[in-house]
């Protein structure tokens, strides 16, 4: 039931998927294991790009683009700025005690096993992947759905962003006000 890719007869798509998946997981790990936060951030960017690749693979162009802009562009820049602002480097990061690390690894394995076990246990009925042939994820369609069905949440999202911005500004400024 676990679909093991048959590399000998792998299609191009499958190869691409495997490649992207490998990059995603590897960079995610590297993000966590890098001593230097800057490196972590760089690896994370690569990770995000690979995820964007997945999106493209799934033919979700709009999301892929948005993802790159928001994550790789905005969020990662924020991260990098913060890191630089704090002047963090390897020396400042003290490793956690061994027991904590061991615990982290154990719980990582545990949750992995649990989640995968659930998935295997659930015996999913994966039939034929039907394709209606309809266009459901082009920018045009998404735009219609977003501005019709999801009008209100959409507006709320914008309010959320606004509030987040004000909050961020306030939080960052508070120190100065106190001085």
């Amino acid at each position: 039931m676990i679909h093991i890719p048959d590399f000998a007869h792998a299609t191009t798509v499958q190869i691409i998927f495997c490649f992207l998946a490998f990059i995603t997981v590897a960079t995610a790990f590297l993000t966590i294991f890098s001593r230097n936060p800057i490196h972590s951030a760089i690896y994370l960017v690569i990770c995000f790009f690979s995820i964007a690749g997945h999106y493209l693979l799934l033919n979700a162009q709009f999301l892929a683009v948005v993802h790159i802009i928001v994550y790789s562009g905005a969020i990662m820049i924020l991260f990098l700025f913060t890191i630089m602002l704090m002047n963090l480097n390897e020396q400042r990061d003290v490793h956690r005690p061994r027991i904590t690390r061991l615990g982290a690894i154990v719980s990582f394995c545990l949750i992995c096993i649990v989640l995968i076990a659930i998935f295997i246990n659930s015996k999913p009925i994966v039939g034929e992947y039907d394709s209606t042939g309809e266009d459901f994820q082009s920018i045009k369609v998404l735009g219609k759905i977003l501005l019709n069905e999801y009008m209100v949440p959409f507006e709320f999202a914008s309010i959320l962003l606004l509030v987040a911005m004000i909050g961020t500004v306030l939080l960052s400024k508070k120190e100065k006000l106190n001085k």
Binding site: V13, T31, P37, A41, T82, M86, F108, E128, I145, A164
Partner: protein, 106 residues
């Protein structure tokens, strides 16, 4: 146009996302640097997003993508506020190790 999942299989996406999610959890537990913890959270969010998109394709339905869109908005807001908090913590404590954040004590 055939469904791309015919070639990859939804299970593989599920596995990938589970692994990614677990890596995120691992990072949260493993590191004490708050910034890295944040990054781990982003990884987890992305794992979920990816799964949404995969299932969106599976169902041939745009809803999942819409949800991902919102979740990105929330993630952006979260990161902005979170980093701002980190910055102010750093200014007060001179460190962003989460071990120093013990004010939650009852």
């Amino acid at each position: 146009m055939g469904n791309i999942l015919n070639q990859i299989g939804i299970e593989n996406y599920i596995f990938l996302c589970v692994v990614l999610f677990c890596i995120g959890i691992f990072g949260v537990l493993y590191r004490r640097n708050a910034i890295i913890v944040f990054m781990s959270i982003e990884i987890m969010l992305n794992a979920v997003n990816l799964l949404f998109v995969a299932f969106s394709t599976y169902h041939q339905d745009a809803q999942g993508q819409v949800f991902v869109f919102f979740s990105m908005a929330v993630a952006a807001a979260e990161v902005a506020v979170g980093l701002a908090i980190l910055v102010s913590i750093f200014r007060n404590l001179g460190s962003i190790s989460i071990d120093n954040l013990k004010n939650l004590k009852g």
